[in-house]
Symmetry: C2
Subunit: 255 residues, 2 copies
DNA sequence: ATAAACCATTACCTTAGGTCAAGGTCAAGC
DNA sequence: GCTTGACCTTGACCTAAGGTAATGGTTTAT
């Protein structure tokens, strides 16, 4: 069970084409397919779609939305809060434009010329881009390394569904390996653990941004200081985040 | 003396590319060019740009905006009134979406599942298309013949700047001819006048929609009953509208 | 069993511009 | 008079987010 494309489309008020397109670009991949290849969406997929639509409503490009939703730092509550705020701003913008239309009308009927500059007060499209920038800033602040973030953005923007699948698979494999070693109580300086760390670093370098050991060190720190990352890793095994960080820091000292 | 493309762009907050594009598609042709070919916009052009931006803000396709602004029925006051109204509706829509985001957040934090249908209440994009439809309806009502209107739409949508220039030129020529005959007190059933009417009918058929004599008859009636059309024709010579209609009605009886 | 409704993929098309590239024009300073 | 930099031109190519077919498989209701 779950929803068919048509059901989701009806529910959310989007077209079938849209859903297929989102699948194709890997933005919203239905969680299963029937034997015949029919798409089946889970409730979680539907919730994700809502998130997508909120971002879309704020004119985020789909590639950026994909980026955001694929980031482990993503937090739905944060996003909803920010979205509510910006949607409110957008409402204000339209109210202002409505006012402008009315004012123009008044001036027209009164026969007095309007200052040409005032005639476009409120149209300024820049305001809209600001929304994206603000969100980006918030994320950047957490990631710290602006350069790396940019590079990551430009690389990941053109990833296809297959790319994301591949990336996810590799990351999951690494995580599983790490998790296995952790559960087996292998110490963090063991070569097998260090090998996983090295693989991770290379993987990040290849797929996201140039990642020298120091950068990995920063990341590792974040795994224990940022509760979202901690939660993400500890979901697999309690204490995994800190174990991973220990391994990373050791890796860094050995360069 | 007029604005350069850069000045207009700054004023209105649009890009240079946008202005050039609008020129190319004949949506906003600057009223002069310098000898070197530089675009010079008049104050009237700037006002037209404001109109364009209001329509654009409501997601009217540019082709439709062109259609609307090229229609003699177009009235800036009417348009502004309608725009203010719909912009207000848009503001309301965003407020609703903001509410939805907040509600979703509350439910998320409260831990209670939200009805999937409610999760998309307010996104419905259909509402937006309604705006266009409403405007279209108003125009349709005046034009009466839905079939003809549709055909006209589909034909004129792909007209380029050159097409519009050609059309305008021919129409102006016809109008001048008619005006000359009217001023020379040539009666409306004179073959020379009837020839102009026939040319007009053929021209409409060729460039807008299939226009048999009866359809032309309707048009002629509108020229005297709709004050905007009357005003448009009487601008060239007082009484021209009714003279034109007389000529058309005579043409229709003779088939 | 067969029609109607639903699903799949592939392929081509559209809108409203963004982004170069290559070159003409104009006012300012030397 | 010459150059430099800011501003203008056209042209060509590119993109995002789907729309619209065309063609064919699947499910369900009668």
């Amino acid at each position: 069970m779950g929803y068919t494309v048509n059901q989701v489309a009806q529910l959310a008020g989007v077209t079938l084409r849209t859903l297929r397109y989102y699948d194709k670009i890997g933005l919203l991949t239905p969680h299963t397919r029937t034997e015949a290849g029919y798409r089946i969406y889970s409730p979680a997929d539907v919730e994700k779609l809502q998130q997508i639509l909120f971002f879309r409503e704020l004119d985020f490009p789909l590639a950026r939305i994909n980026e955001i939703l694929n980031n482990p730092l993503f937090d739905r509550r944060d996003a909803l809060k920010m979205q509510a705020e910006h949607l409110e701003k957008r409402a204000a913008r339209y109210r202002k434009l409505s006012q402008l239309a009315r004012e123009t009308l008044r001036n027209l009927e009164g026969g007095n010329k309007m200052d040409k500059k005032d005639m476009f007060e409120g149209f300024d499209y820049d305001q809209m881009l600001e929304e994206q920038k603000q969100y980006e800033d918030e994320v950047k602040e957490r990631w710290g390394n602006t350069e790396a973030y940019k590079e990551s953005m430009s690389k990941t923007a053109r990833y296809t569904k297959e790319d994301w699948e591949r990336i996810n698979e590799v990351q999951m494999q690494n995580l599983k390996d790490l998790c296995g070693l952790y559960n087996a109580k292998v110490p963090h300086d063991d070569p097998r653990v260090q090998e996983v760390v090295d693989r991770s670093r290379k993987f990040i370098s290849d797929n996201f941004y140039e990642c020298p050991p120091e950068a990995l060190g920063c990341l590792g720190q974040m795994y224990v200081t940022d509760e979202r990352f901690t939660a993400y890793y500890d979901k697999f095994a309690p204490g995994l985040a800190s174990y991973y960080n220990d391994a990373i820091q050791y890796y860094c000292t050995k360069k």
